[in-house]
């Protein structure tokens, strides 16, 4: 089964991402990091969640408040993820 990295860049989460199966992942970039101010939708709890740390810090999001479910990453790890997952989709 192919794995997909869903890349979100704003606070709107497409339904197809919410319906995504275990094994896929979500990467939060740019304005999408604001989603972390609220509890994430339950549908996302079964997915691995990554967020670009620079984008959080730039926007003043308190890193200490971020849930353990979320892995904060840098650009080097971002590149690795695009290789680890079979496909990447920017929404």
């Amino acid at each position: 089964m192919n794995t997909n990295l869903h890349i979100l860049t704003n606070v709107l989460i497409p339904d197809v991402v919410l319906a995504s199966n275990t094994g896929n992942a979500v990467l939060l970039l740019r304005e999408a990091v604001h989603l972390l101010l609220q509890p994430l939708p339950v549908e996302l709890t079964r997915l691995k969640i990554y967020a670009l740390e620079e984008d959080l810090v730039a926007r003043g999001l308190p890193i200490t408040m971020i849930s353990d479910q979320v892995e904060l990453i840098d650009y080097a790890r971002f590149v690795e993820l695009t290789i680890e997952y079979n496909t990447s989709t920017s929404w």
Binding site: N10, V11, R30, E31, H34, L37, Q38, E54, D55, V57, A58, R59, G60, L61, P62
Partner: protein, 118 residues
Amino acid sequence: MKKYLIILQQAPFANSQSLEAVELALALAAFAQPVTLLFMAEGVLQLLANQDAELIAQRSFTKAFTGLELFDISAVYADQDALQHYKLASTQLSINPAPISSAQIAELLAKHDIILSL
């Protein structure tokens, strides 16, 4: 004198509109025009303290909010529903805007001659 209301609705650094809204407010205030600011929707995210836009190669224009009083801009409001939506507590914000309900926003709009929504 005409009263200006500037509505800030964009997340910070998403595009140039939020920066332009701030520049517009400061320019109007510099010409002694009465300016009110209203943060709505994703615009409330501009109020988060400790931003560092240099990291993403942008200007940290939101730092200007702490100097608004120097420009005689003291009427600053934030949509309380939007603050609640993003679970923003007043302690997390760089300034203390007056929380305002949708009904109060309607009244605020009625009190201004020129309304600019950015």
